[in-house]
Symmetry: D2
Subunit: 334 residues, 4 copies
C-alpha cells in the first residue's frame, strides 16, 4: 500500500515536489492545499488529487505525511500543527528566519515524537552524494579544505528578496548545509564578506548579491564558499574536497553535452538555467528518502537540527559581514 501525501503550498517548489511524489511508486499525492485556489486546483487536476483545506488535511485519517512548501513565515507553525496531528513532516528550508523560533519549533517536534525532515535537496543529488560517498570510503583520506561555488543564473524578484531573510539565509544556507555534509566536523568559526555588484536595487533592499565565506572547524579544516546571484552562463554548482591523500570534485552538469569546433574555437552550450532542471534527480531522491522515513521509520536526514545549524551559520555570517571579524558559532548558538 502506498503512502498518502498532502502538499501544502502549490507554488514553484510545491510543483517540483508534486511531480516527485507522483512519480514515486510508493507514494500517492492525495491532497493539495494553497491559499490561492487556482494554484491548488492546477496541481489537483494535473495529478488527479483533491484540493483540501489545511484544516481538513490536519484532521484527515487518510493522510500519512505532509510536504510543506508554503511561505517561510508559516513553516514553523505548520510543522508544529502537523507533528501534533501525527503526520510525518517534510519542510522546505528554512524552518524560520528566527533562530529562537526554530528552536521552539524543534522542541515541539521532539516533545511530540514527530518526524521532521528538512529540504536540503543537494544532499540527494547523485553527484554531490558521490562526493560524500568518496569521503566515507576513505578515497581522499582526512578532509582538509572544501571549496563550494554556487551561483544563480539571476537574482530572484525584488519582492522575494525583501522577505527572503537575505542571501545568507536564502541562498548560502544550502552551501552551509553542504559544508556540514562534507566537512566531517562542525564549523566553529565563520568569516564572511559581502557586497552588491550586480544590481543596486539589492543594496536598497539591504541585501547582498556577492558573498565569500570561510568556515573553520576545531581541528583546522577550512571551507570556502563563493556565491553570486548572477552567472551569465547558467546555474553554477560546484564542490571540491581536498584531503590528506587526494581530492574529490564535481563539475557542473550540462543539459546537452555537445561540443562544436570551428575556426574560433571549441564551444559547449551553457549550463542548466534553473535549479529545477539541474536538480530533477535530487528532488526525486529526496522524496524517496522521506518515503523511507515515513514507511520504514528511518531517522530523518537532514533533520530539524541540520536546519538549525545551517541557519546559525547564516546568522554568524551576517554578523561577520557587519563586524569585519570571524564570528564564533558559539556566539550565535549561545
Amino acid at each position: 500500500m502506498t503512502l498518502h501525501f498532502a502538499l501544502l503550498g502549490a507554488g514553484r517548489i510545491g510543483k517540483v515536489h508534486a511531480k516527485a511524489i507522483y512519480a514515486n511508486p510508493d507514494a500517492t499525492l492525495a491532497a493539495v492545499a494553497d491559499a490561492m485556489p487556482g494554484a491548488a486546483s492546477d496541481i489537483a487536476s494535473h495529478y488527479g488529487c483533491e484540493v483540501r483545506s489545511i484544516e481538513d488535511i490536519e484532521l484527515a485519517a487518510d493522510i500519512d505525511a505532509v510536504v510543506i512548501c508554503t511561505p517561510t513565515n508559516t513553516h514553523a507553525d505548520l510543522i508544529e500543527r502537523f507533528v501534533r496531528a501525527g503526520k510525518a513532516v517534510f519542510c522546505e528550508k528554512p524552518i524560520d528566519l528566527s533562530l529562537d523560533r526554530v528552536r521552539e519549533c524543534l522542541r515541539t517536534v521532539e516533545s511530540t515524537g514527530g518526524k521532521l525532515m528538512v529540504g536540503f535537496n543537494r544532499r540527494f543529488d547523485p553527484h554531490f552524494a558521490a562526493v560524500r560517498k568518496a569521503i566515507d570510503e576513505g578515497a581522499i583520506g582526512d578532509v582538509e579544505m572544501v571549496q563550494i561555488i554556487s551561483r544563480d543564473p539571476g537574482a530572484p524578484p525584488a519582492d522575494y528578496i525583501a522577505v527572503s531573510g537575505g542571501i545568507f539565509r536564502d541562498m548560502t544556507i544550502h552551501d552551509f548545509d553542504m559544508a556540514r555534509f562534507v566537512l566531517g566536523e562542525e564549523p566553529v568559526s565563520v568569516f564572511a564578506t559581502a557586497s552588491v555588484l550586480t544590481d543596486p536595487e539589492i543594496a536598497r533592499l539591504g541585501d547582498y548579491d556577492s558573498v565569500s565565506v570561510v568556515l573553520t572547524t576545531k581541528s583546522g579544516r577550512h571551507c570556502s564558499i563563493s556565491n553570486s546571484r548572477r552567472a551569465s552562463y547558467g546555474y553554477d554548482q560546484r564542490l571540491e574536497v581536498h584531503g590528506s591523500t587526494g581530492s574529490v570534485a564535481i563539475e557542473n552538469q550540462r543539459p546537452i553535452s555537445v561540443e562544436i569546433a570551428t575556426r574560433t574555437g571549441y564551444t559547449r552550450p551553457p549550463l542548466h538555467d534553473f535549479f529545477m532542471t539541474r536538480y530533477t534527480d535530487a528532488y526525486a531522491a529526496e522524496i524517496a528518502a522521506f518515503v523511507e522515513v515515513v514507511k520504514n521509520g528511518k531517522a530523518p536526514s537532514p533533520n530539524g537540527q541540520d536546519g538549525l545549524m545551517a541557519l546559525a551559520l547564516a546568522e554568524a555570517a551576517l554578523q561577520s559581514v557587519k563586524e569585519g571579524r570571524a564570528v564564533a558559532v558559539s556566539e550565535i548558538l549561545g
Copy 2:
C-alpha cells in the same frame, strides 16, 4: 483527453516503453499483451492497466495506438494487423530480418493509409539530436566525414544472438540509422570488415563481435562505424561529424560526474552500463514524438522507409564482409 495506448510485448524493451508512456501526460497505458501472462500482469499491476489478448486490443474501440515490443519475427505481421485495425503503430526495430518481408509490410501500411513509426531511439537522445540540430543550423558547414563509435558493455546471451539476425541487423543497424540521420545524403556504398575477438561462441553462432564499416555517399562523404560487443568501461556511444567549417561531437554520458585525484592520478567512474539508463530521456522523447503523430497527425519519423534503408545497409555490410569489397546499396535494393 489523453490517448490510449496498448503495449504488445512486456519484455525488457516493453518495460522501457511502458514507463515512458505512463510518464507522458498525453498518453494513458490502457492495456498490455504478452505471450507470458506473468510478464503482462507485472506491468499491468505496476501501472494500473489491463492485461488483454492481442485479439482484444485489435478489436478494441478504446485503443488509439499500439507499441510493438514482441520478438522480431512477429513485427511485420503485427504491424499489418494493427494498421488494418486502424491503430497508429510504433514498432521496435527491425521491422523484419528479410528485406522482402519489410517491403511487403510497408506496402500494406501504405495501402491502408496507416501510420508507422520505427524505434530508432538514438535520434531522440538530446545529445545526438543536438548534433543534427548543429548541422541543420549550419554550425559546421557541409558535412564531410562522420565517425560513429558504439560499443556494448557485453554481448547479449547466445540464444538472443542466434535469432538476432547478426550484429549488423541487431546492433550496427542503430549506427546505420544514425549515419543516415546526420550524413545529409544517402549512402551509396558500404564496406565492412568483421571478426570475433571477445568470445569464440559468437563465431560458432556464425556472428561477429567486432565490426568496422565505411559508408560513402554520391558526393564523396564518408562515415566510419566502429562496433564492439564488449567495452569494459560501459556503454560507449559517440558521434562526431566533421564539416567544411567545423566539427560537432558528443561525448559519452556518465551517470555520476565525480572525479577523484590521488597520487596515482585522476579517476572518473565508468559509463552507464546499460542502454536503458543511458537512453532514459531518449525513450521518453521518442514516445512524445509518437504521441505527436497519433494526436496531431504529424508524419512519423523515423518511418518504415527509414527502417528499410537501415536494414538494406546491414545487408550490404554482411555481403561486403563475405566478398571483401565495397558493396553498392543499389545491389541490395535492386
Copy 3:
C-alpha cells in the same frame, strides 16, 4: 664529447631538426647544406655552424651523423651515399615514393652495416608514446580496435601536392606507421576510400583530401583511419586503442587551456595550427633517440623496414581506392 651532426636540407622541416639538435646537450650542429645558399646560411648564422657542400660533409672526418631533410626524390640516394661514408643517417619519411627503390636502398644500408633511422615523429610525442606504454604494460589487455583521426589545418600548396606522391604516401603514411606502432600485429589487408571535398584543384592534381581506411590483421584486429586536409579548428591528432579489458585514448593538445563561459556557452581556443608547435616535444625526443643510436649503438627505431612497411600500406590503400576492394598487403609486397 658531443656528437657532430650535419643537416642536409634547410627548409621547413630542416629548421625543426636544427633547433632540436641545437638544444640537445649531447649533439652539436656542425654543418648545414642546402641547394639554396640563403637557406643554409640562415641556419648557420642562427646556430653558429658552418655551411658546407654535401660532398664536403660526405668526406668530413668530424661529422658523426647526418639528418636528411631534402626533397623526397633525393632521400634514397643520400641515404646510400652517407651509409657508405660511414655516417649514421636519420632520414625524413618517406625513403622514396617507389617501393622498389626503397628496397634497393635498404639493401645498401644492410650491406654496409649502416645505421638508418626514419622520421616518424609521432612515435616520440609523449602522448602517443604513453598510449603505446599503456598497451605494453597491459593496461587494456589485448588490442582489438584502433581509431586514428588525423586532420591538417589546411592543404599544402598545389606544387607540393604535385610531387608529394599523394595523400596516402604523404599524410596517411604517418597514420599507417602509428597503426603499426600500436596494433601489435602487422596489417594484412587494407581497404580505403577517398574523395575530394575541400578543393577541386586537388582532384585536378589526381590526389584526394578526404580519406577513410580500414586495416585488418591476421587475428582480426581492426584499425580505422580518418584523414582530412582541412580542419577549421586546427591540427587534429587523435588516437584511441580499444582492448579486451580497457581502452586508452589521447585528446588533442591545446596551446592555451583557458575556457571562457558566457551567456552563449563555454568556449576554448582552437588547437595548435601547425605540426611544428604541436610536435615540438616529439622532435626533441626523436633527435634524442637518434643520439642514442649514434652514441650508444642502440638499434634505430623506427628503421628502414618501418619506412618500407608504411609505404607498402600506402600503396595498398591507393590500389584499394582504385579497385573498390580490400587489398592484401602481400599483393603489394609480393
Copy 4:
C-alpha cells in the same frame, strides 16, 4: 648583438633561469656566481660561461644585466649594489621579508634610475596570461569574484621553511600577485585563516600549511585563495575569474594527456610534480620580458612596487590570522 647576463645564485631556481637565458636568442649567459663554487662551475660548464665573483660582475663592463637567485636575505643588498653599478636587475621574489627594508631598497632603485623587475613567474605562463588577456578584451565584463587554488605536491624541507618568512610570504605571495594581476583594483582588506594539517613539524616552526584568504577591493570585488603545502595528485595551480557577463578559468596542466578506461573507470595521470616542469614556458617568457626591459627600455613589470604590494598583503594576512579579523591594507602600508 646579444645582451650579456650574469647569474647570481646557482641553486634550484638559478638553474631554471640559466636554462631560460641560454635558450633565449637575444641573451648570452656570460657569468655565474655562487657562494658554493661547485654549484657555479656546474652551470658554467653546462652552458659554457665563466665563474666570477660578485665583485667582478659588479665591476664588469661586459655585463648588461643580473638575475638574482641568491637567498632572500641577500636580495635587497644585491639589488642596491647592482642598480648602483648600472646593471639592469631581475630579482626573484621576495625582495625582502621586511616591508621597511623593501621600501628602502625601492628608494635606492628609484634614486639611481635603475631598472628592477621582480620574479612573479606566473604572470608569464601562457594560460594565466590568457586569463588576463580575456579580461582586458572584455570577454567577461567587469571582474567580480576571483578564485585561486594553489597547492604544492609537498612541503619544502624544514630548514627552508625556517628561513622562508612563512607560507604567506613564501607561497601565498604568488597568489597575492596573481590576485592583483587580475582583480583590476587594489585589495583594501585581507582576511586569512591558517592551520597545520599536514605535518606537526610545520607548527613547531611557527608556520602553517593550509591557508584560506579572502581579499576585497574598494568597489566590493572579492578574491578567494586556497593554499595547501600538500596535494597528493601533483602541482595544483588554478585560477578562475567571474565577471558581470562571463567567467574565465584555467585548468591544471598535465604532462601527459592520456586517459585509460577500464572496468573501474577512466583514469588520467597526475599533474606535474614540480613547479619547474609546470612553468617551463613561463620562465622562458619571463626572461624574454626582462630582455625587452634591458634591450628596448620597456618598463619592468612586475616591478619593485608589485613586489612591495604582494608582501604587504602577506603581512596583512599574517596579522589577520593572529587577530581573527579583516585587516585593512592601509594598516600595513601606513
